[in-house]
Amino acid sequence: EADIYQTPRYLVIGTGKKITLECSQTMGHDKMYWYQQDPGMELHLIHYSYGVNSTEKGDLSSESTVSRIRTEHFPLTLESARPSHTSQYLCASSEGGRDRGQPQHFGDGTRLSIL
């Protein structure tokens, strides 16, 4: 079982609130990712990081921001939540270095509902 943790697992919150979704991994992986997934649907990459102090936007435009101050920690923040942000957010990580086909390891996700 991969050691990557997401909190909270579920969050129901009102419009306009600031939200931070936490993601931590204990594997020392350099690469980390955030995906948005409507339940049972395809994954959309919204942010990724090569390592500390590196962050990039993914394919799906997102109003969220991320930071990578420590290797093990990759939080995602929504400054002002809206109902359109309702979704499941999955965090993942993978080994750095030369690409040898390393798979991604996923957390169990945060299911976010904005009222």
Partner: protein
Amino acid sequence: AQSVAQPEDQVNVAEGNPLTVKCTYSVSGNPYLFWYVQYPNRGLQFLLKYITGDNLVKGSYGFEAEFNKSQTSFHLKKPSALVSDSALYFCAVRVPGGFKTIFGAGTRLFVKA
């Protein structure tokens, strides 16, 4: 454009029968190929991958996948399905050295007792 297709939204199979979940891809070069499984309220779990070599790769939980370069396919298989195999399965590809992994839309597998 690079893409992954899982042509079946849903696959139904009886327990004990063989199962196949199909995947085709459109990616230049010789990509890395992956299968992941997702159970309800969980993240994706890695099942197996193809890097190079033998076209039949074996993975977790008795699953295997067959790579066919000429058909650009990477179908997931299992000789004898279990009810507990019921889940959502994702095929994924990555160009070697690239950062982005492209996921298919997923195929829901139902195994009936």
